[in-house]
Symmetry: C2
DNA sequence: TAAACAAAATCGGACAAGCAGAGGTAGGCA
DNA sequence: TGCCTACCTCTGCTTGTCCGATTTTGTTTA
C-alpha cells in the first residue's frame, strides 16, 4: 500500500505536462512533492519510467506511459466512486426501507408517501410491518432507513423526531348507549366488556390505563390487529381503547363504530419517526420532513381523537 | 483525496468481520486505527454507513454495504494494477525496441535475437536503424529500450556495457595485389584509392586514422551503407577501412572481397549496448545479457578482424 | 441484581510522512 | 561564455497515522 492515490495523481499530472514545475503549479503544491511522487511510483514498480532531463523537463518512456494510463484509469474510478457515494447521499433514487409498528402507520403512511415521494422519482419502497421493538432494533442494525414507532421501551441510542402525541380514545359500536355521550370516563369503560389490541407494546399499555382492580367486566377478546379490534367492536362484542384513528369510521365488516374521547387524564402514546439524523441520505431526510409536515398540518386532526374539554 | 486506499482497506476488512477488533488482528494494527478509518469513510460520504454497538461489534447498513462493495472493487483493481506493473517488469512479453547504429549491428543482431528471445516468447521486436547520435538520444528520451552503438560522442548520462572493441581493418578486392599480404600498413593504404563509409561518426573516424598529409591517392567514393562500400570495393574501385565484419565475404554483387588486418596501432571502435541498467524490464535485461554473452563467446571472432602480430 | 465479560470510543504521545522553500546543479541557448 | 530553465537535494515544519492504555457501554452469566 506504499503507492498512494495521491502519488498516482501527482505522477500522472507530471507526465501529462512533461514538466514537474507546471504540474506543481496546477496542483498548487511544491515541485519537490511531485518529484517525490515520481520516485515513489518508480520505486513501487522497480522500473525507470521517466527520463529526467535538466532544463528540458521530464519524459515518460513506454513503460511510464503504460503505467500512467493504468494509474489514470484507477484515479478515474476513484473519482467515480466518490461521485457515486455523493449520489447515494443526494439522489432521491434508491430504496427507502421503512419499518413501522403495525397498529399506527397504515392510517397515514400512504398519504405521506404520496405527498413527498413518488412524484416521478425513482424510489423503491420497502415497507415492513413489525412490532415496536423489532422496528427499533432494525433501525439500529441498519435494516431500515427509518421507522415509525411509539416511544415506549425506547432504545437509548436511537435518534428520532416526535410526530404526534396521541391520547387514548374509546371505540364503541355506533349503536352502543355510551355512543350518545360526547365523551366517556374510564369508570364507564370499566363496566363494559373490553376488546384489547394484543400487540407487544399495546396490550400492557392499555391494561395499564385502568386503576388496579377497577375493571368490573371481562376482556372478551384479544386481537392482534387494529382492524380485527374494530370489527369486533363494530359487531357489538365490546368496546376498545385505541390511540390512532383510521381515516374511515367503517370497519371491514361494514358496521359503523364511533370514537369518543376519554375525560380521564391518561398518558398518551408518542408517535415518532426514528432515523439517522446526523447524516441521512437525502431520500430519508425528505421522507422524515414529509412526516413532520404531515402531522404539523392536517395529519394531526385526522389521526387522533382530541381529548374532551374537562 | 482525503479517502485513502488504506482507509478503504481497513473499512472493508472491518465490515467483513463485523468486528473492529478482529479486523485489527487480521491486519496486525491497533483497533483505533480501524475505527479512525471507518470514521474517515463515513465523513467522506457524509453518511452513516455502520452502526457501532458496543459489546456487539459493528454492522453495515445498506449504504455501508454498497460503499464497501465499491471500495472492494477499487482495491481489487489497485492490486491488479500493481500486479500488472510487476508483470511489466517481469514478463518476457511486450515490445523490445532496439535502436542501432546502422553500420555495426546487422552482422550479429539477428543471431543474438535468435538465441535469447523468440523461443516461443511473446515478444514484439521494433528494430530501428539510425545514426549513433540518434540512437543515444532516443534511449535517453525513452524511445528505445536498448541501443547498439559506438562510444564516440558519448552522452554523459547514458549507461552502457561494452561489448567489443573492434580495430579497423582493410577491405580489398580479392584480386588486388595487396590481398596477397597477410597484413597491411597504413602507408600502403595511403597509396590506394579509397572508398569511405559516409556516416556521421564513421567518416571522421576513418579520415582521422591517417596522418595529416599522408594520403597520396584520392577518395574515389563516399557511400553511406556498408554494403555499398563492400560492393564498390568488390568492383575494384578502391579499398576501404572498416571495423565490423559481416559473416560473409561475398558482396551483394557476388564479387569476392578480402579483409586484412592493419599493422599500425590505430584506435579501435568500441561497440556497446546502452540501456537502463538500474531498473530494466526483464526483457531488456535478457537482451542485454544475450548481447554480452554473444561477444564473450563466438561473436567476437566472427565480427572483427583480429589485429596482425607486429 | 450484581459481577464478569466483550467490544467500541477516547485520549495522549511517539513516530513517520508529506510538504514548502531555499539553494545547488546540469543542460540548453544566445 | 554567461544566462536561463528546470530538476535535484536538503532542512525544518506540519500533518497524519498508529499504538497502547483507559474509559464507556452493553451483554451475559451467576
Amino acid at each position: 500500500m506504499a503507492l498512494t492515490l495521491k502519488a498516482m495523481a501527482y505522477f500522472t499530472t507530471a507526465l501529462r505536462h512533461g514538466n514537474i514545475a507546471k504540474a506543481a503549479a496546477e496542483l498548487n503544491i511544491a515541485a519537490s512533492a511531485i518529484a517525490t511522487a515520481i520516485d515513489q511510483v518508480e520505486a513501487e514498480f522497480g522500473l525507470t519510467l521517466v527520463t529526467r532531463q535538466r532544463a528540458r523537463g521530464i519524459q515518460a518512456n513506454a513503460s511510464g506511459r503504460e503505467v500512467a494510463r493504468k494509474c489514470a484509469r484507477l484515479l478515474e474510478e476513484y473519482r467515480s466512486l466518490l461521485a457515486e457515494g455523493a449520489a447515494l447521499k443526494q439522489s432521491l433514487s434508491g430504496t427507502l426501507r421503512v419499518g413501522y409498528y403495525a397498529p399506527i402507520a397504515p392510517a397515514f403512511l400512504p398519504q405521506i408517501l404520496e405527498n413527498c415521494l413518488l412524484h416521478g422519482t425513482d424510489v423503491t419502497l420497502e415497507l415492513e410491518e413489525c412490532d415496536n421493538d423489532q422496528a427499533q432494533d432494525g433501525l439500529l442494525e441498519g435494516r431500515y432507513d427509518a421507522i415509525l414507532f411509539v416511544t415506549e421501551d425506547l432504545r437509548p441510542a436511537l435518534t428520532y423526531d416526535t410526530l404526534l402525541t396521541a391520547p387514548p380514545y374509546c371505540l364503541l359500536p355506533a349503536t352502543h348507549p355510551l355512543a350518545a355521550h360526547p365523551s366517556i370516563t374510564m369508570a364507564q369503560i370499566a363496566r363494559e366488556p373490553l376488546v384489547v389490541l394484543n400487540r407487544p407494546v399495546a396490550a400492557s399499555y392499555y391494561e395499564g390505563l385502568f386503576e388496579p382492580g377497577a375493571r368490573q367486566a371481562p376482556v372478551v377478546a384479544y386481537a392482534n390487529s387494529t382492524e380485527m379490534v374494530r370489527s369486533l367492536v363494530a359487531a357489538g362484542r365490546g368496546c376498545a381503547i385505541l390511540n390512532m384513528r383510521p381515516l374511515t369510521s367503517e370497519s371491514y365488516s361494514g358496521a359503523k363504530v364511533v370514537e369518543r374521547p376519554i375525560t380521564d387524564d391518561l398518558p398518551p402514546l408518542t408517535l415518532a419517526i426514528g432515523y439517522d439524523r446526523s447524516a441521512p441520505r437525502r431520500i430519508v431526510q425528505v421522507f422524515a420532513d414529509g412526516c413532520r409536515r404531515h402531522f404539523a398540518r392536517t395529519g394531526r386532526a385526522q389521526c387522533i381523537v382530541p381529548p374532551a374539554p374537562r
